[in-house]
């Protein structure tokens, strides 16, 4: 079943066009990855889906409803969670505060968030140690962990991940990718943007390749990994 369908969207920053006629879909239960060089428009796609930018043309259909005219809050409350580029931790909130705030979309008064917290801490034990430290003072990697953790706290149906492994230590990169696989297996659909194309293609089911704001190639992850051009451009060999 198609969960998310992006139909011929065009996005502009001022007068500059960032996306041209982008079209793709994500099926329920899939991991789909977007590949592309610097400035290809990957982050822009994710921002458009979560409603942070409005497309000038085209539509985005999520669970059979058009969401491209909805407010960010409404989109989020439908189960889309976006872990954005650049971490965007709330600098003046503690680690706990950052995580707690992320439950706004589903949490009723007084409901416990312990399960979700445990889940995040199992993945990133470091965060438990830093529980009462203010967001701004965390190390880069710790902030990245927190950003991902925050995304998980919101019980997403569709998780948009923008470069989740950025700045993480190799050992942690492994566990992050494993986690992505696990939560996907538990039923969360994932749209993944990664510079670590090698890893992304290993866990993804399908992938799309972007160049200058256009989709130039798509197919099953395995095929893409084997594609000569892809190897040259993104896998360094």
């Amino acid at each position: 079943m198609v969960m998310l369908r992006v139909e011929r969207i065009e996005v502009f920053y001022g007068n500059v066009q960032a996306l041209r006629n982008i079209e793709f879909e994500v099926n329920q239960g899939e991991i789909v990855t977007l590949l592309g060089a610097n400035g290809a428009g990957k982050s822009t796609i994710l921002r458009t889906i979560s409603g942070l930018i409005r497309p000038r043309k085209g539509r985005i259909i999520y669970l059979e409803k058009e969401i491209s005219r909805m407010s960010v809050e409404d989109i989020v409350s439908k189960g889309i969670s976006h872990v954005p580029e650049g971490r965007r931790i709330f600098p003046g909130l503690t680690v706990y505060g950052n995580l707690e705030v992320a439950t706004s979309s589903w949490r009723k008064r007084g409901a416990s968030i312990q399960d979700e917290l445990n889940n995040v801490f199992r993945l990133f034990p470091k965060l438990r140690e830093r529980m009462n430290q203010l967001g701004w003072s965390l190390s880069g990697g710790e902030q990245q962990m927190l950003a991902i953790g925050r995304g998980l706290m919101s019980r997403p149906k569709l998780l948009l991940l923008d470069e989740p492994s950025l700045g993480l230590a190799p050992k942690l990169v492994q566990s992050v990718f494993e986690t992505i696989k696990t939560i996907n297996a538990q039923g969360t659909t994932i749209l993944l943007v990664e510079q670590n194309a090698y890893a992304a293609l290993q866990i993804a089911h399908r992938g799309y390749v972007l160049e200058n704001g256009e989709v130039v190639l798509h197919g099953p992850a395995r095929d893409l990994a084997a594609n000569e051009n892809v190897r040259k451009a993104y896998l360094g060999g």
């Binding site: 610097n38 400035g39 190390s139 993104y234």
Partner: protein, 261 residues
């Protein structure tokens, strides 16, 4: 050690505390002139904090940083830069609203001398200096391959190019020592290869480099020596081959199976 000379910078028993947290404790290492020295370790190990102490942003609670024969602890950041230490940032710092060229020109100011009055009066000397600032800045941009983007608002550069601009900016201060904090973050493998060439070229200019990285392929390829940190302490130091096989480093940092790296 592969070497071209004595130590350019010596970090001795460096330590810093944030409230109850001992973020860096008793770390020492020497970086020899002309080398590339990598600093690696798990997230939160204290790598960036060490750079912050070297560049004068944090004041260490203890220890010394000997650079060019004198202890530079206590110097404010702009003085450290004047002494010849430049850096890039893990969290990119772009001067928003300034063009790419102006971003780099800002870094030239540390090498100028004309005073306020002459500037206001636009004396010939002031004009000459202003021109040389622009020329040197363009040169630095050309070096990183961003010369054609010089008039763009720096804020609108894509992520990877911002990192390159930061390197150009750091180079524009004419450093002897360059501190790079995760320069490859946000770049794909092909771009990383490019970066490798580029850091090698910097070394060829005679600039010493301290490099923080999580991309092991990059680190192993270009570093002369690696210092590994964990929980604020140094757990290993040596040439790449040695570090790669050090069980403690594998345990704390690299992970056992190298599946996704």
């Amino acid at each position: 050690m592969n070497t071209s000379g004595g130590a350019l910078i010596e970090v001795e028993d460096l330590g810093i505390r944030f409230g109850g947290l001992l973020a860096v404790s008793d770390v020492s290492f020497h970086v020899s002139e002309g080398s590339i020295h990598a600093l690696i370790g798990p997230n939160g190990a204290g790598k960036t904090t060490i750079l912050n102490m070297i560049s004068g942003i944090y004041r260490p609670s203890r220890g010394k940083i000997i650079y060019g024969g004198r202890n530079i602890v206590g110097l404010p950041p702009y003085m450290v830069t004047r002494e010849g230490i430049a850096r890039t940032f893990q969290n990119i710092q772009v001067f928003e609203g300034l063009s790419v060229l102006e971003n780099v020109m800002v870094a030239r100011h540390v090498r100028t001398s004309v005073n306020l009055l002459s500037t206001i009066l636009k004396t010939p000397k002031a004009r000459r200096e202003e021109k040389s600032i622009a020329d040197k800045a363009v040169e630095a941009l050309r070096f990183v391959g961003l010369a054609d983007r010089k008039d763009m608002d720096a804020m609108n550069l894509p992520y990877g190019q911002k990192r390159l601009m930061e390197i150009a900016r750091a180079l524009a201060t004419e450093p002897h020592l360059l501190l790079l904090d995760e320069p490859s973050a946000g770049m794909n493998e092909a771009e990383v290869l490019n970066l490798v060439n580029f850091i090698n070229q910097i070394r060829e200019k005679g600039i010493t480099v301290i490099l923080i990285e999580h991309n092991m392929r990059l680190v192993m390829k270009i570093s002369d020596r690696i210092t590994v940190l964990d929980f604020g302490e140094k757990i290993a130091e040596g040439p790449p081959e040695e570090i790669q096989n050090d069980p403690r480093v594998i345990e704390a940092y690299l992970g056992t199976e190298n599946g996704y790296a």
